[in-house]
Symmetry: D2
Subunit: 142 residues, 4 copies
């Protein structure tokens, strides 16, 4: 498995916290989502300003493992990688790290499926995605 080659910093907002004083569990998925979109932008697979109806992927499954509470003022970043490129799907993995110490606060994964919003059908993963992700991750489109 390759290491995480892409990280995106996230500011923990007061509005992300819950009555137990730390990051609410649902917002871990928000952080992963934000980092995932930045990963796609970074690879040229999505452009700022482009319609999100064009992004061409839907989420099939998401999972979070909570390792430590995340507090306001923590300086955190999310690592994203694609661990598997299938015929119609991508497996993405996430690590939420304290930026200062690199302590891992959470891990997660999400299965994405290529989708045509117009025909409302799953489609084969576009060749461009396969190439760019394979190249970036160094796993030859596997």
């Amino acid at each position: 498995m390759s290491a995480f080659r892409f990280h995106h910093p996230i500011e923990v907002r007061y509005g992300d916290l819950d009555p137990q004083g730390h990051l609410n569990n649902a917002n871990f998925l928000t952080y992963f989502e934000q980092a995932r979109i930045q990963y796609l932008i970074n690879l040229g697979l999505f452009e700022k300003g482009q319609s999100f109806m064009e992004v061409g992927i839907i989420l099939a499954e998401a999972k979070v493992t909570f390792l430590a509470p995340v507090h306001f003022g923590a300086d955190v970043k999310v690592g994203v990688r694609v661990s598997h490129l299938g015929g119609k799907s991508i497996t993405t993995e996430y690590t939420l790290l304290d930026s200062a110490s690199d302590r891992e606060l959470a891990t997660g994964s999400a299965a994405l499926v290529a989708y045509d919003y117009r025909s409302r059908q799953t489609i084969p993963l576009p060749a461009e995605w396969r190439e760019r992700i394979g190249e970036f991750e160094g796993h030859g489109g596997q």
Copy 2:
């Protein structure tokens, strides 16, 4: 496995939707969380007005499988059940259903760990929890 013996209706809010026009993925965890708390209230394990610092459980893991998009105006409910009672932990399962058709829109699970917020340690699952949940679910505390 027992059926879901508890369901909680949720109103899909405009504010829960994202630019693709349907329920944002993170909010499935919000819906599960809301139904989970109502499940605990229903079993007398948490009281409205009680401090959330007293609830005594933390989330160790959460997972969602997305089966169909959830739209504004959909009449939905979340089924909650406890599928396993461990020494220090509980496994909970969720089903998000269209209330009219009982079509399943998502499923999920969450692992909860008994926790003392004062000592900041995991603790054995309180006997009261074991009894009430076992009785409600009909699986004898297993």
Copy 3:
């Protein structure tokens, strides 16, 4: 000024709360928004399932006055009324009430402007809106 002729119940979610243990200030606008859309649906001016790009109004201003903290488990409802129909705009008013006691927890207002999302311009308020709102509110389209 007419009384509030439309109320919409809202479930206070755990995910709506912040570290001070009560409803986060931003979510009052979420509650008002949800009640506003239900008001429009109730008057036949928006249909469930219709695209939100078709709703034809944009928000110009929003205001909240916080009268009391809103806690988890509170049974609340939002009253909505249109207090003014202008040439291109509508003034809406809100009251957040404890359903059991009718105690007022917050008030608010929002100025809405008729808008054509295709031409990206403000437009005169559609006659249908003027008629239905005037009739419902009993102020003759003023």
Copy 4:
């Protein structure tokens, strides 16, 4: 009126957007709140890691004027200033700016009241707040 002497950058998240494809109205208050807390931290009036039950202010009123839609990928920042220091209250003002062009996307204000969470009463604004804010804003505690 002094200019805005404090600005805080905010990343527009995908999760902040709504079905109309731009920043949801409620999240403007979330952005203002985040910038307000950073303003207080910057003045030494709140510390990262401190309990939010200690912050000693509650919100009495909040207002937003929406000037332009805020899109994903926009590079924005929030200006915060205190325009009035009263006996028990503070008036804060906000400007949401496109960082690249300094185009104003929204303005807002919030009235804050000094509050003792233990006695649950409003209290006179602490002298330390009056001094530091007056000094920072250059309006001599007015």
